[in-house]
């Protein structure tokens, strides 16, 4: 559990952010929201006032004069573009933190000792991150994706209590980004390290994290379980294009290649049909998202409709917010124009059907 309450000012920008999260967690916000600044302040790399507490250990409490330097916080930092040491080979980059730990010994800052370096860590990580062919090379000859993998391994081999990841897929194309997220998950799993990732990509936050902190203009506007935070309406104005996503977690139940359909049984009951995807293994967990504007609302039971996902329910709430009407029913949120909402006569308690096309679902994690 990481809790922080930090304040800092840099030029016009002011950060004043407080939240408590349990890894894996994500800080989600548009660029310029102060995500990187927040991460650096947590790591102790930027001077901020306030507190940082990790698993009960106070890393910083400026009111009481406590401010551990970064080398004693045992937080791993994976900066946006990796920032490998250009004068060291990939192998020596990877071992940089491990060597330091051994020399420095356990931190005398108190709290949990945390697992130390174990003999098998290096090999396990080299395998999980596919680093073997890179070990003898130097950073300048690596691609962006390779450099990030090395940076990830380097941070993990220092056995941090929490890994801080800054935009792990920024600048990578979709396929490489997907692989990069896989690497993050696998590597963190291999070394059993919780992480906090900052990103401006909703799908990335969902793919990696169960808890989400929404950051806008240096302030936390919402924090909590991902599904809850991202479907909450009435959040302060901000440039989150897709804050009204419907997010579900579930397990892949079955495939029907002939029908072109895969079924995902979602937590809390119900089934969602998505386009057939052979890469979804039956029985494997999956996270799905659909934006609120993709959800159709019908006041009559739909017939002859192509959408494969239809749930019936009573309208729980209708809220107008910044030119859109948000209707919640049957566990989904739909975003309508005020005209559409008026014409349908939507009001709390009214029976409606919510419909989503299979193709509107995004599989954000598997």
């Amino acid at each position: 559990m990481l809790s922080f309450d930090l304040r800092l000012a840099a030029g016009d920008f002011e950060l004043s952010a407080a939240a408590a999260v349990e890894g894996p967690a994500a800080v989600l916000g548009p660029s310029g929201a102060g995500k990187t600044t927040l991460l650096q302040a947590i790591a102790g790399l930027r001077r901020a006032e306030g507190t940082v507490v990790l698993d009960g250990e106070v890393l910083q409490d400026t009111a009481r004069g406590v401010r551990l330097p970064p080398e004693r916080r045992r937080l791993g930092w994976v900066p946006q573009h990796g920032l490998l040491f250009p004068h060291l080979s990939v192998r020596r980059n990877l071992l940089f933190g491990r060597r330091g730990r051994r020399r420095a010994g356990p931190p005398d800052g108190g709290g949990g000792p945390g697992p130390g370096a174990r003999p098998g860590d290096f090999d396990a990580l080299v395998e999980a991150l596919e680093l073997a062919p890179l070990l003898g090379r130097y950073p300048r000859s690596l691609s962006g994706g390779e450099a990030r993998r090395v940076a990830l391994g380097r941070a993990l081999l220092a056995r941090p209590r929490l890994l801080l990841l800054d935009e792990p897929t920024e600048g990578l194309d979709a396929e490489r980004a997907r692989r990069a997220l896989g690497h993050v998950r696998r590597a963190a799993e291999v070394l059993e390290t919780p992480f906090l990732v900052v990103t401006h990509k909703l799908d990335e936050a969902l793919a990696l994290a169960r808890e989400v902190v929404l950051l806008e203009a240096g302030r936390v506007v919402a924090a909590g379980p991902a599904g809850e935070v991202l479907t909450r309406r009435g959040l302060p104005r901000g440039p989150h294009a897709r804050r009204n996503a419907n997010v579900v977690r579930g397990v892949v139940a079955r495939h029907d290649p002939a029908a072109g359909i895969s079924a995902v049984e979602i937590e809390g009951g119900g089934t969602v049909l998505v386009p057939y995807d052979a890469s979804l293994a039956a029985g494997a967990p999956a996270v799905l998202a659909v934006d609120a504007e993709e959800v159709l609302v019908s006041v009559a039971e739909p017939a002859g409709l192509s959408a494969r996902n239809v749930v019936a329910g009573e309208v729980e709430s209708v809220e107008e917010y910044e030119g859109s009407v948000y209707v919640q029913a049957g566990g989904w949120t739909a975003r309508l124009t005020p005209a559409a909402a008026r014409e349908l006569g939507l009001a709390s308690g009214r029976r409606v059907w919510m419909a989503v096309k299979s193709h509107s679902w995004r599989v954000v994690a598997r």
Binding site: G44, L45, P79, H87, F96
Partner: protein, 226 residues
Amino acid sequence: MDPGLWRLVAFTVEVAAASTALVLVPGVLVAWALSRRGWPGRALVEALVTLPLVVPPTAVGLALLLLLGPAGPVGGWLRRTLGWEIAFTPAAVVLACAVVSLPLLVRQARSALEEVDPGLLGVARTLGRGPFATFVEVHAPLAWRGILAGAVLAFARALGEFGATVLVAGNIPGRTQTLATAIFQRVQVGREREALLLAGISAAIAFAILVGVELLTRGRERELAR
């Protein structure tokens, strides 16, 4: 080459090398301290270190003479406790060269250190390194070209040092005379051909050094461009 001339060249190079060796570690450490922000007195230290660059070298020499002379606070103390004489000895030449060339090393090393991405230093910190270990293992190795260029500049400056040397070490042939002070002395006694030869030798050494710096700097630009 006549042996006296050869000894003069060798002495000058030795003095410059000794002075560079003397300022290298403290100079780089001062450069490092100046490259780090947010400590009190930084502006004062910066001004002090730069001073020898902007005041006349003879003024520096005068200050050193007052400090190191037999009656000066440092010179007097050294004489009483250790029996050392500094003023008008080869050691005074080295010290004069060191003080005058220090700012060049510090400025060059500092700008090289400031060019290193602070993110890299942050990474080293999160990987368990304290500020000094980060400096030794990451910061200095990444700025080595600039530090080396600074050392070469300091060496070149020491080779040509005249004003401070003359005041605190004099111009004693065979004892404290360097190429620079020898040229002056030869001209004064009317041995202009000899002075011209010494000037030619000085120019040749300086040229070789400047070419060396140029090559280093170009290498650095290539490295940055990669």
